[in-house]
Symmetry: C2
Subunit: 381 residues, 2 copies
């Protein structure tokens, strides 16, 4: 099965390198994506509080949706009927679907993993839903995402070595079955490296998965509860094990600081709920660190969240007003803070792209990390 | 006190008439407003789920906010400090503030009405908050609304004649005190006619209130639970009692059908939570009547809410997707449906303005009412 050809609609070109950091361009059936790229999370085919045109206007050309959630509701067949997930959600860019492997961990009480696949109890109505590698690919082909993920078992943390090894083997067998099951010619398929926090297992997983004809590769099973240093250590190791000419995706990462570090390791793609979830909890990203809009000190503060920010929120709304909205439970609070946070992430990625192109990534990263560390002053500012 | 001069920043010009229907232009310190105009309700200085730029882009130049709610949170002084309510909420148009009289009715368990004013127990923290006519004007001047409403007692329904008469007298005394208390020269002040469902009381109230130097007049105490026919009857009567050269505001109205009827009576201004609240409950206005997005029949429906609609929602999102968003509890459902409903209302008002200008209001109204009555077919369509 290793002679399968990569999706013709899919391509990845490296345009610049600076140290291990890479700047490039992903081609998909739904347009191009400049990398390194951050994907906002749209679990149910909607990035919470955001409209599809707003994501586009913020510069996002690739968002993430979730196979498990969409298969349960509204159903993959329905999405296929309606022209695929991008068209369904009114988004003109590309979509990556997570395979459902993560939900085998995050919804562990509701499922059982066997060599065959994952048996879920629906979190919606308790009905049974079975996700095999073949079915995960079939569903993603129906959903019509541009980038599909192989079904993996996202190894929980902590896992002892034997558990992590078994999980790794299972993920490798599932990966082979995903490759074999693949039918669509215009959707890319990515393989996922597990291995928990064990360097030898990471190496073994990478050797197994990169031998298969995937269009790209992801480091999975990180940012799932392990200490930050282990995450960065495993991410750095995994990056060195992934083919240079294929896109590298660090799943579930992360904070702005993490992104700066991981781009420096040579990753190209990222996803995380942080900018959107934090926004709904009143937590705002700025170049000088995070601030909480709930703080009493902002009650009469006429300034925008961030003076240098060009987002729609900062153009019109003061901290005092945003605090009022948040405390009043107005939907507009979630919207305005989410838009700002996603604008911040988009600007960060664009800044990294430009720094790599101009071979100034090291300086950019150092400057960014120094400023981001200044959160305390932002809180007081 | 009757020699007070109307706010110089305020003006009202009638540009066309067709029968009793009028088309005109309100001038305020924050721009002009074409009438007849519908005001979206932004109780806490935010129209639920909508951004201020979106309201503007939908064509709204005047929105409503609420004195009672804003005085409690974030406080009128804070809004004044931040440049007034329009600037506070990032809205480039004008703002009308309701006086708080309506909350004396809607939050009746939390307050006591006396000749002096209304004593509230804050719905937020139980603290005491007193609203006298003088204080209601002072607060609105601090809030910086362009159109202020006199403090009235919104007579609840049902009210026997003696109760309604007493309420009317109280409202008249409070109206005098509001006129006397007024300081600001660039904010208009409107008087409110009560009288419940008693024609003689409506006449008496109108005689009292229109003798005072208000910049405009409102029919209040309607759409508070009385049968629809009584509402329309009292609204029609009240319209004939209000000065032709001043703007006439029918408070709390209403459905698209009500608006068509009331514009035909000669009203110029309206407010109602229907388009926004209904949207959050999945109820959608279309030219062919209301539809509920929850319906199973829309599960696979690729059509927009309304084919002829030019709103952002209808440009991109299908009924199937909107139903999915609604059922999934996504914030975007509230946003997308609210935007559509407010676009529908804006289009309705613009249509009425044009029909009056071209002296075809009767035909427009008949055609609109015939289509709106076709809600059943829209549900099935």
């Amino acid at each position: 099965m290793n002679d399968k050809i990569a999706a013709p609609a899919f391509g990845f070109a490296l345009l610049a390198r600076d140290g291990d950091a890479r700047m490039g361009r992903l081609a998909t059936a739904h347009g191009e994506v400049a990398t390194p790229a951050f994907m906002p999370v749209g679990t149910r085919a909607a990035v919470k509080a955001m409209g599809p045109d707003e994501l586009w206007n913020l510069g996002y050309r690739l968002v993430l949706a979730n196979t498990y959630h969409l298969a349960l509701r509204p159903g993959a067949g329905l999405i296929e009927e309606l022209g695929g997930v991008g068209r369904f959600m009114g988004f003109d860019g590309a979509v990556l679907t997570d395979s459902g492997g993560f939900q085998a961990m995050s919804l562990a009480k509701l499922n059982a993993v066997s060599p065959e696949g994952i048996r879920f109890r629906s979190h919606l109505d308790g009905s049974e839903f079975k996700l095999t590698p073949e079915r995960a690919v079939e569903i993603q082909e129906q959903i019509g995402s541009d980038l599909m993920m192989a079904l993996d078992e996202c190894t929980p943390y902590p896992a002892d070595r034997a558990r992590a090894q078994a999980s790794l083997e299972l993920t490798a067998r599932w990966a082979e079955r995903c490759v074999a099951a693949r039918r669509s010619s215009d959707q890319a398929l990515f393989g996922i490296i597990q291995g928990s926090v064990y360097p030898e297992l990471r190496r073994q997983g990478a050797a197994q998965i990169t031998a298969m004809p995937f269009d790209g590769f992801a480091a999975g099973g990180l940012a799932v509860g392990e200490p930050k240093e282990r995450m960065l250590e495993m991410a750095a190791l995994s990056a060195t094990l992934l083919p240079a000419m294929r896109p590298r995706y660090l799943m579930g990462v992360g904070t702005p600081e993490d992104l700066v570090a991981a781009v420096g390791m040579g990753y190209d793609l990222f996803d995380c709920v942080l900018p959107t979830r934090n926004a709904r909890n009143g937590s705002v990203f700025t170049s000088d660190g995070r601030i909480s809009i709930k703080q009493a000190s902002y009650a009469r503060d006429p300034r925008p969240l961030e003076a240098e920010c060009g987002c729609r929120t900062c153009a019109k709304l003061s901290r005092a007003y945003l605090r009022h909205l948040y405390i009043s439970g107005e939907i507009l609070a979630a919207r305005a803070l989410t838009e700002h946070n996603l604008h911040f992430y988009a600007r960060l990625m664009a800044g990294m792209q430009a720094a790599i192109a101009s071979r100034t990534y090291r300086e950019f990263a150092a400057g960014m990390l120094a400023r981001l560390g200044g959160g305390r002053s932002a809180e007081q500012g």
